[in-house]
Symmetry: none
Subunit: 198 residues, 4 copies
DNA sequence: TATGAATGAGCATTCATTCAT
DNA sequence: GATGAATGAATGCTCATTCAT
């Protein structure tokens, strides 16, 4: 019974991602999400508090998974170099392979409604922490000179985010993964990375 | 007579910036902009096509000025180092000194409505070009090794943008200008800047 | 369930007739129709496309019934004399007994909006055909000399219509049925009716 | 000076007829009338109380002339036959030669707004009186049997009016004057006209 | 649980009219 | 008188949410 409930929850979530990506949050009607999910309008409200809540949960669920998987991969890296590469590679690959989620993340979620922002920040802060930890580790191990971790994190996340938005909004389709190497090189330079075994 | 018209146009623009910053684009009623500008609701429509048009023009006018002034300052710089500093300093200073514009720019304008996006991109592309020219000049003068200018631009703009958004959304007020130096250091490292006369 | 739906449809239709008759189409607010029908504003739009659509349907439904019933009665008449009497009597009786419908028919529906006109004409043309058939039958049976059926129909319908409008707009209430006999006599003269069995 | 004023008054009147005929009363903006008349919006209000007043005056002025000219022609007729012919001929000819006025008269003026109706009725009543006088004269001279003059007038005016509306709304252009003779024949039959000297 | 018909709050925009020049 | 920029009242319709079944 609980599995059934979970299944319907996920179906609505997936339907919402498609609907938001296609029509935009404001122009997408709840009715459309319901139709795509194969449930009645009212059913949505048995699983979510409101349309906004659907948007928030989309982010929490999908980005939560994304962050968890990145966290796991990072834990297996030995060097800062490897960790930076993991961040850039995972970020670009995930977005390129989940375009609808990328659209929702890069465009729809940038609504300024305080309620939405608040919940999103709570989730994205985990990502920020992950990045800052990598920098901190680098500093502690001597691979990276002492720098302001917040500013460095803003640079890394901001760069990845901007590159993704650029890619999402590009008219002519192009690949995002091809930017992994050049972006990584910039990050290494910015952090003045001292590669141990080279 | 034309000066009067221009004055009223600017008054509505300023009122809109305040109103959008306070309530958000979607929740802000045209009536509120009119009240703040000291004109009747209908008067707005003598100067703007629609509420959306107001948002678009806010960006075009204010960012247009911002870009023009940055362009002018850049033309007086002799080195890539100076140019990078001008970019970071001008960006952070302008945003810190025009918080309402920053809110509108960083939050309200990230709506995905295609019409709005389109007009905004046309304006922001000028900023992108400015940044890419600086990188290109650096490469040509030998101050910067040969790198992908688009990726470098994404890093620079993305970092500045993320830092600004972070600052706009920070609960406890803090200064943005204090980030000029550390951010600049990161950029110089990323671009592996070869400072000539030092 | 379908009966319930049909019932609500009719209730809105009746409410609209009252509302239009009282305030006129343009001055009548959708909200008033909803109140009279005992439903919410939005409910109107579950049954009708727009306020204009309500007006059009009022005519189609009510005049459709009127024309159908007249058609049935005409089919039972043996002579042109009887048919003419049926037309005049049914027209005047129906209007006198349904004053609100008469008001809507004679006044509100004479809007020149092309969309409205078009739909109304499609319905009223059935009435025109009915009248022209009666004339044609009279000509074929020799009761009426060969005349232009369109002009004769314009005379008959125009006379009935004008008499009804006159009655609707009369300040002092008077009866419309009392005009049945004198109007009939005029029609018989106009058509130079040759009454067979007299 | 007064001639200048009168000229501008007429220019606005003519502009209004064109504008109403083209766009319909409700969809026609005062601004359009002003443009067509070559005056400023505000100027209209120096000559007319309101947009509705313009519509009313259009009818009063133009139909006033029409009625006056018909009255004059009728006074020169010797027989009821001649008078009936004058009515039908003048009505159809005038409408065919002034299509824009016909459109305004047959369609735009059928608005149910009480204020408009009232003023129009006061004007059209003169036309009704003219027709009823002709019938009365016929009765008194023995050319027409004793009948209800109101009903007879409703038949005559209603027939002419319906024929005109039919013509105005006809998709394929056709002539209205060709209906003079057949319509006249119907009227003579309806009134059982006894033609003296034939 | 699930449904989907019904609800009703909410708002951008138009345009007849005014009035300072 | 003439202008036309400014006014601001007025409202049809949408759509997130509810709730009787």
């Amino acid at each position: 019974m609980d599995a059934q409930r979970e299944g319907k929850f996920q179906r609505i979530l997936d339907a919402a991602i498609e609907a938001f990506a296609e029509s935009g949050f404001h122009h997408c009607q709840v009715n459309k999400i319901a139709r795509l999910a194969g449930v009645a309008d009212g059913t949505i409200y048995l699983y979510f508090k409101s349309k906004e809540d659907v948007l928030i949960r989309v982010f929490q669920e999908r980005m939560g998974d994304f962050i968890a998987s990145m966290s796991k991969e990072l834990s297996q890296c030995k060097t800062t170099e490897a960790r930076l590469k993991t961040i850039v590679k995972t970020h670009f690959s995930y977005m390129e392979e989940n375009r609808s989620i990328a659209i929702v993340t890069q465009l729809e979620l940038r609504q300024s409604d305080p309620r939405i922002r608040l919940h999103i920040n709570n989730t994205v802060v985990d990502y920020f922490n992950l990045i800052e930890e990598v920098i901190q580790q680098g500093i502690e191990s001597g691979e990276v000179p002492k720098i302001d971790t917040r500013v460095a994190r803003q640079m890394i996340f901001g760069s990845l985010d901007e590159a993704t938005t650029d890619w999402v909004m590009a008219r002519s389709p192009r690949t995002l993964k091809s930017e992994i190497e050049p972006m990584l090189a910039l990050f290494e330079g910015a952090l003045r990375l001292n590669k141990p075994n080279t």
